[in-house]
């Protein structure tokens, strides 16, 4: 680590810690305005049906009801993630496509009345045959969910590099397996909530739990058919997102529409049950994977065929499918690869981005298959990874340019950790309990390059008491970016973290920003903040140079002071400098401006996979130790270690928190979490039956990072905390393989699955 930093690399408490610890932090559902109405959404009870008529009269007549809206009263805008053609209306128009699709919304004086009114809305449906299985959905005879999508395919990818067929012929070892992943939840505890207030001048103010508020800003204008300038989106504190709060949803739209209709502020807070059956999930997948190696373990070729169940709408699924396929090219050198992907419509909850976005599914398959191959070939699973690990300066066949890369170092470190763990293992343990150790590797992006707006901006204003206001368009959904960005500003300006006041997103004031996704905020917004702070520093250095009779280049900002390099006695407090700048002569308004996006990246083509997704890739190795109870089938993760190449950490404590949360989330993904559906109906739409990890699942954790520094990242920083979830799943599955000799090819690996496998072991492969 570079020495001499005051803020960077320090374990500083987050700037919003106190207001969150005291309950003062306001989330969308905590907000209220005078005269506010409460609204509720009526949802489809059918997975697939034609909407014939909606009778709202009775509901409208209920005392306390102020308005009822249906799709008929909208301009028919359809959202479509990042695709040009939308497919998802915020209120159903002609059809409903999954159980939970929004059909109507009611605003009333209180929630109870709104809910009562929902029961009075009569909807005439004509039931249609439901398509619930993605494989069946692609058959010629399957009913179409969207008329524009033959075979119910919502998006297709076809990646092909090198000569796969020739490569397989020349391989010493080839194996093929089918892997499957279950649909899972983002699992944020704060339900979706929105508050909208339409004033008589025709302006809409909107507060919502949105991790990327500018998606809502744009789509709201389109869906209401009003100019963008009439919309103001303001961000309250956000109770977790993990990819599930990126898009604008019906809850946001209905609040705005009902506010326009009633002339009153309208708030909607959906229930957790609604979150669980009527909003988003991670894509479940079926992955047929073929891998070929030379006998020394050199990877030669991969061929993948992926079916991803996208549910009823496209959402951001084109990107999801691209990521699933293109990320076979990373973190190992792979000269030949082919990946065909199909994202398929079914009459279930729509799938979208979730922590690791698409990569956890395909990396699970690739890393587990690699362990099976290594075992069968008599090779060491660490050595085989080390042999194929990408190095700095390499370019993957699809065009990812690897700059900083600590993968080799992280794999070598994992070897030392595993050796130590084996030594520490109790020698005479319980015979019924078998323990094992497994690893997995990953590579991930530090901000994705996509078509459209990519730039992050930052504005910094200084105050005469030495205080500093920082505005960006990025949101902190819990990951700590408000603190990290403030640390960057403080470091450049020689200030302390507590001097910074961070202003959350307000589309009237803060710079335009794509949003919080793809681990882009620290890397991209962080650079914008650095540049804005340097702008302020340059402006103030001019003033200081005048006063201290020096060259602006020689003015140093440190410890809340400025001084002339080499002569510490020629100095003044930062606050005094600001005052001089603002008060003397005609006075100056000191405002710093910065904007940044990586230059020269080839925008990825989602269909062919070509392009360079990011200006910096992070890497890492995850190690897991498990204990398998052969009596009960229970798998317990005993401990995990992660060796992480995130460049220079800006805040180690926050970074650890990100890694720990991501890893424990991965434990849920691997061992317990699965959305169970019967005929399109979610059977476990509660946090009791859908089991996310609890305190009893929190295992010991060792965190290390490699000695890497990224040249482009702010102070050398890269992605942290998202990518690791990609490697957690295979590390645990490989540890189970090591413990009981069974490589599981479907997650979650629940106790009944383990017991069945143990019963069948020896007779057939699982």
């Amino acid at each position: 680590m570079k020495e001499g930093y005051v803020n960077i690399g320090k374990r500083l408490p987050r700037i919003d810690g106190i207001v969150k610890a005291t309950g003062e932090a306001k989330f969308a559902g905590d907000l209220s305005l005078a005269g506010m109405l409460h609204a509720k959404i009526l949802r489809s009870p059918y997975p697939h049906a034609r909407l014939l008529h909606i009778h709202t009269d009775k509901a409208k007549r209920l005392s306390g009801v102020r308005a009822v809206v249906t799709g008929k009263e909208t301009v028919g805008f359809k959202a479509g993630g990042i695709s040009a053609t939308g497919d998802e209306p915020y209120l159903a128009l002609d059809k409903v496509r999954f159980i939970g699709d929004a059909v109507a919304a009611v605003a009333a004086i209180d929630e109870e009345t709104a809910e009562e009114a929902l029961d009075l809305i009569e909807v005439e449906y004509e039931e249609l045959p439901a398509v619930l299985d993605p494989v069946a959905a692609m058959k010629q005879e399957a009913p179409l969910i969207h008329d524009h999508a033959p075979l119910n395919i919502s998006f297709k990818t076809d990646l092909s590099y090198g000569d796969v067929d020739k490569a397989f012929r020349e391989c010493d070892y080839v194996r093929e397996d089918r892997f499957e992943t279950a649909p899972i939840r983002h699992g944020f505890i704060e339900p979706h909530a929105a508050l909208a207030s339409w004033d008589r001048s025709g302006r809409l103010s909107f507060w919502g739990s949105k991790q990327s508020p500018y998606f809502t800003y744009r789509n709201m204008a389109k869906a209401l058919n009003i100019p963008l300038s009439r919309i103001r989106v303001v961000q309250p504190y956000i109770g977790g997102g993990f990819g599930g709060k990126n898009e604008m949803f019906n809850v946001d739209f209905c609040a705005a529409l009902l506010s326009r209709k009633t002339g009153r502020p309208v708030k909607i807070v959906v229930s957790q049950e609604e979150v669980l059956f009527a909003y988003r999930q991670r894509h479940p997948t079926i992955i047929d994977l073929k891998t070929g190696l030379k006998k020394d373990g050199t990877l030669q070729a991969v061929e993948a065929h992926i079916i991803a169940d996208g549910g009823a709408y496209l959402s951001i699924g084109a990107l999801s499918l691209y990521l699933m396929c293109a990320f076979f090219c990373i973190p190992y050198r792979l000269p030949n690869m082919k990946a065909k992907g199909y994202r398929v419509y079914t009459n279930t909850q729509p799938s979208c981005a979730m922590r690791g976005h698409g990569v956890p599914q395909s990396r699970f398959a690739a890393e587990v298959q690699l362990d099976i191959a290594a075992k069968e070939m008599g090779l060491d699973s660490i050595d085989i990874r080390l042999k194929n690990a990408l190095k700095p300066g390499e370019t993957t066949p699809n065009g990812f340019k690897i700059t900083s890369c600590g993968l080799e170092e992280s794999i070598m470190e994992s070897k030392r950790i595993i050796a130590r763990w084996i030594e520490e293992k109790p020698k005479d343990g319980d015979k019924k309990k078998k323990s094992g150790i497994g690893i997995g590797c990953y590579g991930y992006v530090s901000g994705p390059r996509m078509a459209g707006h990519n730039t992050a901006g930052a504005v910094i204003k200084v105050h005469e008491d030495g205080g500093i206001s920082l505005f960006t368009g990025s949101t902190d959904v819990g990951q700590g970016s408000d603190t990290v960005l403030s640390q960057i500003a403080a470091e450049v300006l020689g200030a302390r973290l507590e001097d910074i006041r961070y202003g959350m997103v307000d589309s009237d004031i803060t710079p335009l920003d794509p949003g919080t996704f793809g681990s882009r905020v620290t890397f991209i917004t962080g650079n914008a903040v650095r540049i804005a702070a340097e702008d302020v520093r340059n402006q103030l250095a001019e003033v200081a140079a005048n006063t201290l009779e020096a060259n602006p280049k020689d003015i140093v900002f440190k410890d809340r002071k400025v001084y002339v390099a080499g002569s510490l006695d020629r100095s003044m407090p930062f606050s005094k400098l600001v005052k001089i700048a603002q008060y003397s002569g005609t006075g100056k308004t000191i405002i710093g401006r910065g904007y940044w996006a990586p230059e020269g990246l080839e925008v990825p083509n989602f269909e062919t996979g070509r392009g360079n997704m990011s200006a910096a890739y992070s890497f890492g190795t995850q190690v897991a130790e498990v204990e398998a109870d052969t009596d009960t089938g229970m798998i317990k993760v005993i401990r995990m270690a992660m060796i992480h190449d995130c460049g220079q950490p800006i805040n180690e404590m926050l970074m650890e928190g990100q890694l720990e949360g991501s890893a424990i989330g991965g434990v849920g993904h691997t061992l317990t979490e699965e959305i169970i559906r019967k005929e399109g109906q979610t059977m476990n739409a509660s946090l009791l039956e859908y089991r996310i990890p609890t305190t009893v699942d929190a295992c010991r954790m060792e965190i290390y990072h490699t000695e890497t520094r990224d040249d482009l990242g702010p102070f050398g920083a890269k992605e942290s905390g998202e990518g690791i979830q990609v490697a957690v799943v295979p590390a645990i599955v490989n540890a189970i393989y090591d413990a009981i000799g069974v490589p599981f090819k479907r997650i979650p690996v629940t106790p009944d699955v383990v017991l069945n496998a143990l019963k069948g072991k020896g007779q057939k492969e699982v």
Binding site: A21, G23, P191, Q272, G478, L687
Partner: protein
Amino acid sequence: MKKQIKLKVNGFEYDVWIKTHWTLLDVLRDEIGLMGTKKGCDRGECGACTVIMNGEAILSCLVLATQCRGKEILTIEGLARDAKLDPLQDAFVKHGAIQCGFCTPGMIMASRALLNKTPHPTVEEIRRGLSGNLCRCTGYIKIIAAVQKASTTEEHR
């Protein structure tokens, strides 16, 4: 039909008009305006609405407001005294136990009730004591550590 009841929250008495089926959670938030207690699931599964009633951690979404007459209710807003954070709040802030912050009030109240009964809990006791409070952000590791740290600093209170 609404009826009037008295509730004692954070040391203050409130006269509130309620419907008899309203939960303590709804009355705290919508009638008294204490929004620090969060509504995560509204059916006793996530722990975000945890408050302390007569020294016991309870899920305020599962208790009717009328059942709380004559009881001492403590919410997150009542924890800091004389502008000084409770040692648990302080430990949560200092040791990185907070991320999005939505589960935090419930988590701190559950921890407060635990430490009141068991001033020096083992890690296992903390795990069991907080197993009803869900958090997707932190992986719980820093939460468990913060409760442990708070339990040691409290001796000097």
